[in-house]
């Protein structure tokens, strides 16, 4: 009897060890509760489909802190197998650092590839021509304005034709309502937002709409760069944009969550998520009947035209040092599925990069996002180059100097150029 029990126990123990040895673990980095929630069903699907254990490693929520921790771990060689970058701006530098495994062949051979918007596919291509990230969500920003406030004051709500028209509208708002007329994110505290949510949207409609040159360098000396800083300068000098809150540690809180709902700020750049999370049904300070009270303008060009600038939101990549690269790439394709895209859209408010989401029933329920998803068809984008993260920090520093009224547009451009040269070296910056 005792012998039988002993043999049985040994068999169970051996079997347990064998199972443990076979069950592979894929580690996925994620940050922010919404992101973690969005991935829950995907994680369960991956575990079931591939018989692996998925360990979701939770990182600090603010993008800057997340990147600091992630890059430190990537540098040390102990980062998770799969992770995302907050925006496109980080990707080329991560590729140059050798952190990302190429996924071009697998991505193109994958069923879902054909249904992705062209702009998403192009944004995912690195300067070396290879694809290293799954471009599963798009960040699309526009100018959101208080239609109710403007109409009450007798101000036109028509789409502004060009920068001059936009600035005149902002001045008219200030004059007739006393509210700030327009906000473009600026300053160091806003992190990459000064570039991602402000600067680049104006740049694509300027005289020099791209920063990356054919030879992979950065051209920051273009006339368009100075002109974009000129727009900031005019908004700040004429007191058309709130400046003091932008110098604090959480610069978006007062303008976006207090001033805009109160009507003290009448227009601001914001992403597709704003209708839901900033002022809509999921907001702590909602604007009643938000889709009627708040309208949108696309960002006009310097001399006319309208620009819907698309950016990759949380592009996912595979760690070049992942233990099982093949498996990690398969898991990455699961993350790119329409189901996961829609889950992210519901939790975070970004736009699915797949056209197929338009036929998804769950996505159809996100009525605020459906028209923006359709507009992504005409999305434009900034060509990527190594050093974009540095440019983003340089723009933050330059706009901070403008906020503090320490410089003019040409001076801000010099701050950006000097900073980029200082960090990247003279060879990388034209």
């Amino acid at each position: 009897m005792n012998k039988t029990v002993l043999v049985g126990l040994c068999a169970v123990t051996l079997s347990a060890f064998a199972t443990l040895a076979q069950a592979e673990t894929i580690r996925i980095a994620n940050h922010g509760q919404a992101g973690i929630n969005a991935m829950k069903s995907t994680v369960a699907r991956i575990e079931k489909k591939y018989g692996v254990t998925v360990e979701v490693v939770e990182y600090p929520s603010p993008d800057k802190d997340y990147m600091t921790k992630l890059l430190t771990e990537l540098g040390a060689g102990n980062a998770p197998d799969i992770f995302s970058a907050p925006t496109t701006a980080y990707v080329a530098d991560m590729v140059a650092a050798g952190y990302l495994a190429p996924i071009g062949a697998e991505f193109k051979a994958w069923d879902g590839y054909a249904s992705f918007y062209d702009v998403a596919k192009q944004l995912a291509v690195s300067p070396d021509g290879e694809t290293y990230v799954m471009p599963f969500m798009l960040g699309i920003q526009e100018i959101y304005f208080r239609r109710d406030v403007l109409e009450k004051a007798g101000i036109s709500t028509e789409q502004p034709k060009d920068w001059s028209d936009l600035l005149k509208r902002a001045a008219e708002i200030k004059e007739k309502t006393g509210a700030y007329g327009l906000l473009f994110p600026a300053g160091v505290s806003w992190g990459t937002g000064a570039f991602d949510e402000g600067f680049q949207h104006l740049l694509v409609g300027s005289k020099t709409p791209q920063l990356a040159t054919e030879d992979g360098k950065l051209d920051l000396t273009g006339e368009g760069v100075k002109d974009v800083f000129g727009v900031y300068k005019e908004l700040i000098d004429k007191d058309l944009m709130p400046t003091q809150p932008l110098l604090g540690p959480e610069p978006w809180v007062i303008p976006k969550y207090q001033m805009f709902p109160e009507g003290k700020l009448a227009a601001t750049t914001c992403g597709s998520w704003c209708y839901i999370f900033d002022w809509g049904r999921e907001s702590k300070n909602p604007i009643p009947d938000v889709e009627k009270a708040v309208g949108t303008w696309t960002i006009p060009g310097q001399a006319g035209g309208q620009y819907v600038l698309a950016n990759l939101a949380a592009p996912w990549g595979v760690n070049a040092k992942a233990e099982n690269l093949e498996l990690a790439k398969k898991v990455l394709m699961e993350i790119g599925s329409v189901e996961t895209q829609v889950s992210y859209a519901a939790e975070i408010g970004n736009i699915p990069a797949s056209k197929a989401a338009a036929q998804d029933q769950a996505f159809q329920k996100l009525t605020e996002l459906v028209p923006i998803h359709a507009a992504a068809e005409n999305g434009v984008y900034l060509k990527q180059a190594a050093g974009f993260a540095t440019v983003a920090e340089g723009v933050a520093r330059a706009t901070e100097a403008l906020l503090r009224k320490e410089t003019d547009a040409a001076g801000a451009q010099t701050i950006l150029v000097d900073y980029a040269r200082e960090i990247l070296g003279d060879d990388a910056v034209k």
Binding site: T68, A96, A97, Q244, L247, P249, I254, T390, E393, R404
Partner: protein, 295 residues
């Protein structure tokens, strides 16, 4: 001179006893410091091509420092922060507290507990607590107080950022100053004060001619500890202002962090850290020389 077997054995035992501490010191203090010096001569980065292939750049990072206005600004801010909070704020208030606590005050224990309380709160928690007191808007504590007196409230961390971080760091450091200075005061024999009083010295004369000179070694020791530890303050300032607005509170520790982990330039950040280390060392040597004692 030939050492005896006994002496050799004692020396070996001492080495054995000291070796764990020595190993820890090498692993966690000396090696990182030496590695930082090495990093400061490279273009090592956390991202970009330099992360893959870092190269030796000689003194380029140090030469860049010389022309970096933000670095000089951080040195100036650090100097004002150390002078304002450690040298003036904590020392003066700590000395007053120490002198008061020598007297038979009512609620003496309550008073000393209140002074010690700031040390019970972790740095970042204390930072966030102060944010709620110094924030803009009418609901913040300080704004409510000034409004009670008919004054206009403001966002204190925006309007007076450096002053505010000096105030907060002073608040946090009084206890250490008080404990050290109380210890210093207690070493002065009471008879000296009694003799001075009998000779007709007034309180001001007693303080200037007896208390201060006799406490000088303690004061210098306090200054050394306080200045070096204030140069290294990070969490409190990071939680309060993150070095802003516009670099107004970017003390050198924040500047090192920003260069290393925001701009991801480890080599340059290490060069700034080496400079900070040298400044701390120079301060330490100067204080030790002034004390004329071996530490």
């Amino acid at each position: 001179m030939v050492r005896s077997t006994y002496e050799k054995r004692v020396a070996r035992q001492l080495l054995l006893i000291l070796s764990p501490s020595l190993l820890l010191l090498i692993a966690f203090v000396i090696y990182p410091a030496v590695y930082s010096v090495y990093l400061s001569f490279t273009n090592e980065a956390l991202t970009g091509a330099a992360a893959l292939n870092p190269r030796f750049v000689g003194l380029r990072n140090y030469s860049r420092l010389l022309h970096d206005a933000k670095f000089w600004n951080s040195l100036l801010v650090t100097f004002l922060f150390v002078v304002g909070s450690a040298i003036i704020g904590q020392f003066v208030l700590g000395l007053i507290s120490a002198i008061l606590l020598r007297r038979n005050l009512a609620f003496k224990q309550l008073f000393s507990s209140i002074i010690l309380l700031p040390n019970a709160a972790p740095e970042v928690v204390a930072g966030f607590m102060w944010i709620s007191m110094l924030a803009g808007g009418e609901n913040a504590t300080l704004s409510r107080i000034v409004m009670f007196f008919g004054m206009t409230p403001t966002d204190w961390l925006q309007t007076f950022p450096l002053t505010m971080i000096i105030v907060v760091n002073t608040w946090r450091g009084i206890a250490t100053a008080m404990i050290l200075l109380t210890a210093g005061l207690s070493t002065i024999p009471k008879e000296v004060f009694e003799a001075a009083r009998m000779d007709g010295a007034n309180p001001s004369q007693i303080f200037r001619r007896i208390t201060l000179p006799l406490m000088m070694p303690t004061i210098l020791l306090y200054m050394l500890i306080s200045a070096v530890s204030t140069i290294a303050v990070f969490g409190l300032v990071y939680a309060l202002t993150r070095g802003g607005p516009g670099g107004a509170t970017e003390v050198i520790s924040i500047y090192i962090y920003n260069q290393s982990f925001t701009a991801f330039q480890l080599g340059y950040g290490a060069a700034v850290a080496v400079v900070a280390l040298v400044i701390s060392l120079v301060l330490g040597i100067a204080y030790v020389r002034a004390m004329k004692v071996q530490v």
